[in-house]
């Protein structure tokens, strides 16, 4: 039986500076997951124009709804884009902004399937990378 084997690496750099030029904090986290076969089916990237201001699904039916490593960037110029797994809002991204999170789409164990994006006012373009991760086994209220 064939299997899919996936590895994710994420890194970031965050620094806050005040108006006098003083550094308030600086963080540079990174991690690489173990190579996982369990729950691994699909990793995909792309650029999509939202369906007007309607919720637009970007995950696939094959993605593991219990854990998908998710990078999303608003690459348009006009309006905020909201990131909505399982009907809950986890980010509001202005043009040029991006996010990263290991997302639990099926938070309530209620067979929620969709990781959606939704633009305000008019359609916007979004880039994304979504990769399955191994289920943590949680079954929270969301």
């Amino acid at each position: 039986m064939a299997t899919q084997s996936l590895t994710v690496t994420a890194s970031g750099s965050f620094s806050l500076t005040d108006s006098d030029g003083n550094s308030v904090f600086s963080y540079s986290p990174s991690f690489t997951t173990a190579t996982e076969v369990t729950d691994s089916n699909h990793m995909h990237t792309g650029e999509i124009l939202t369906n007007g201001t309607s919720a637009t699904t970007i995950n696939s039916a094959l993605n593991n709804k219990d854990l998908v490593y998710t990078f999303i960037k608003n690459v348009d110029t006009d309006y905020v884009v909201t990131v909505i797994p399982d009907g809950d809002i986890i980010a509001h991204l202005n043009p040029g902004e991006c996010m990263f999170s290991p997302v639990h789409v099926d938070g309530a164990g209620d067979a929620s399937n969709n990781l959606d994006i939704q633009a305000a006012t008019a359609a916007q373009k979004v880039q994304y990378l979504i990769c399955d991760g191994k289920d943590t086994g949680i079954n929270t209220d969301d």
């Binding site: 970031g12 308030v24 929270t140």
Partner: protein, 129 residues
Amino acid sequence: MAKNYTLAVSLNMSATTSTGYSQSQSGAFTLNITGVDQIATGRIDCATGSDGTIMAAPGYGKAIYVKNLDDANVLEVYSGASSDNDLIGVLKAGEFLFVVLRDTNTVTARGLGGTVTAEYFAVEIDTNA
């Protein structure tokens, strides 16, 4: 006089299969923040079964970074109380998340399977950021 701030952000994610197929995405941006009164940063122990508060309710929104410093247990991160159905991310040992949320919810986290130490910052943002 209250100070103004600049938050510089850079994010990268790559995914690879055992066949060598690889995809990646990255982004970078800055937020210029004025007129805010809450910058929270540090480390907090998040117990199992109760919410640890990362940030009290902001006036308009926030930029959030949380990293799970534990070597085994999972950390759940919420915008709002954990009963309010806004799970931002589920962090395994060593993993982190970063999001921007333009809402007035508190930010909370809780460990699963044991107390988890979280490293975090939560910067309040204003309407112009």
